[in-house]
Assembly symmetry: C2
Homo-oligomer: 372 residues x 2
């Protein structure tokens, strides 16, 4: 599960180039919008509802925050000057992300995403409104999976057709391929964690890194930097920074998944309602005394025979009582501090410029401290 | 829906190089097996059930008939000499096909494929046997979708990493990309056809071409030929041949989907049970008199309020009574004749060699006349 928030009020407290962040995002957004428009015009036609389907997909992709493309571009800029072709290549990461969200939301049966009904819910509503035969929910889920497939294909095309020279792309493909497979396998492992009663925190953190953390920050950064021909020391620093910020990002997700509000663009308490074994929930269970642990297990798992809806409010209270939320906040803060130190070190070692460093610092805080 | 049969007893009546066909298939199979083994070792590990999941996927891919890769290689061989790299590139088409089948079977809720329970059914059984919490069927469906995603990614990697020179691959990518998007959009259109009460035969044939016919024969042939640098006349002849054989292939699928037996490796009567508007069903409705049409509609659609299971036996009798099966057989035979004439013409024009022509003739009959 991924949570995406709106404004980040903490950003202003960090020295950065806000205009530059906004500019990168604007350029990525324009490129992604155009890609989706062109691909839909090329392929999504000659069937009932083609315009509606293309509209749903464009709107969905267009409401992203473009974090992954921005990290990809920052990775590039850490080692090379501005390049529209590089920006085009990493903009495909937004489509890769759209693929993951579209299918993830089907698997989780999520209802809200980016402040709107999820795509499979929108497709189901349309099907219902058209008065067609067959099951609307089933149509919505299948349709969203297929739109995800298209985004996965188009993401790869965006990179291959970016205009970057072959030698540059060839430095990126191994990392790109690794990221794609890791994403799917990570989601698979996540399904298993949901299905198990009691994963350990280590297992949860492993899934968290593989499924979300890595591909949100670390892999995009490394992809951009590798294509730009970054030195091994720079690649290593960016990779470590990416691990720290990615874990912080996902743990923030997990906190918002329990204590978040509608401002996340998702349903509040979704993780609890879905009985997901997130870092926060598993940590709460591990640090709880026997009584609270028993209460949590009863709230979140009930019995196999009678799985009623989860009492979200009661589960929140139980989790809060363990102190796990504070512990997770400490873990997040630790990771942000490590990330900032890594940036400082790279600057001190002369492998990273001040301008990119400033944006990386701001992005670390932005990812870890999304205000709900 | 795709139907895949076992032995083809008609092949021996056609002049061909059976040893060559068997040799190509053996080489493709070995390459695909090795690819799946390597990719699973690389990515599918460090999670519960990893060996089981890898085994299910390997077994599933390994039970294919490798039609698409064989057509891809024949397209190559129509214009260029034998090349292990070309064979490696087109072997990825088998993984693309695995992607389509894995997700298609989830969307259709199919139970049998290639003579075994479908992958999502196998995953669900495993989940149930492990006694994990959560819904086994849901796990099975999500898991199969994710394995499909991996196959889609690995298919593209097989082509890119085949060892073919860049210039050769660049002649293939536009066709490859077109095929992938067409496949997903075709499946989407198929969902809409299932959901509509009465599509026209033209609409059904359009979906049939886009979803299955094109990507089974025409696109693989064109892909191989284009990479080999085939002349426009040869490309055109192969494309037309591919359209004819692809349509015949899919119409045979539709006949087997209604009248097939267990020898297809799928459940008999599946298309009827799923109320699919296949070419055979829609043609039957179009040529039926008012009484039979009414009976067919009642059998296949019932009322929105009470959709009980379809009476497959009664629907078969009603379809047979319209004469639609005979008409479809005529349409299939017409297409095979056209395909054979196209091959003869290409040989006469000197754009196609005798050896590849003989195999193409045999493959036309094999695809159109799969013995159930």
């Amino acid at each position: 599960m991924f949570v995406e928030t709106g404004q980040d009020r903490r950003l202003e407290h960090v020295p950065t180039h806000p205009d530059w962040v906004a500019e990168i995002r604007g350029r990525v957004r324009a490129h992604v919008d155009e890609t989706v428009r062109l691909r839909c015009a090329e392929h999504v036609h000659s069937m009932r509802g083609a315009d509606f389907v293309a509209g749903v997909l464009s709107d969905f992709v267009g409401r992203g925050k473009y974090l992954r493309s921005m990290f990809g571009y920052l990775g590039w800029r850490a080692a090379a000057p501005d390049s529209p072709a590089a920006l085009a290549a990493v903009s495909g990461l937004e489509l890769l992300h759209a693929f993951a969200l579209l299918q993830d939301d089907v698997m989780d049966r999520s209802q809200l995403r980016r402040g709107r009904p999820t795509v499979h819910v929108q497709l189901a509503s349309w099907h219902r409104g058209q008065g067609m035969s067959g099951c609307p929910d089933r149509f919505g889920e299948s349709g969203a999976v297929l739109l995800g497939d298209l985004c996965l294909v188009w993401a790869e095309q965006a990179m291959r057709e970016s205009g970057l020279p072959r030698a540059v792309l060839d430095r990126g493909w191994p990392r790109y391929d690794e990221m794609r497979s890791e994403l799917a396998v990570g989601q698979f492992a996540d399904l298993l964690n949901e299905a198990r009663r009691v994963p350990t925190l280590d297992e949860v953190m492993d899934v968290l890194r593989r499924k979300s953390g890595n591909y949100t920050v670390r892999r995009p950064l490394e992809l951009g930097a590798a294509m730009a021909g970054a030195a091994p020391e720079l690649l290593a620093a960016l990779g470590d920074y990416g691990t720290m910020v990615g874990e912080a990002f996902q743990m923030r997700d997990d906190v918002l998944g329990v204590f978040g509000t509608d401002a996340t663009g998702k349903s509040a308490g979704d993780d609890l309602a879905e009985r997901k074994a997130t870092s926060l929930v598993v940590l709460a269970r591990e640090v709880a005394g026997p009584a609270t642990r028993g209460a949590l297990d009863a709230l979140l798992h009930g019995s196999d025979e009678a799985d009623g809806p989860v009492d979200v409010a009661a589960a929140r209270v139980a989790i809060e009582s363990t102190g796990a939320r504070r512990r997770i906040e400490e873990l997040i803060a630790t990771r942000v501090q490590s990330a900032l130190r890594l940036v400082d070190g790279a600057v001190a070692d002369g492998v990273l410029g001040d301008d990119v460093a400033a944006v990386l610092r701001a992005m670390a805080v932005r990812c870890a401290d999304r205000v709900s």
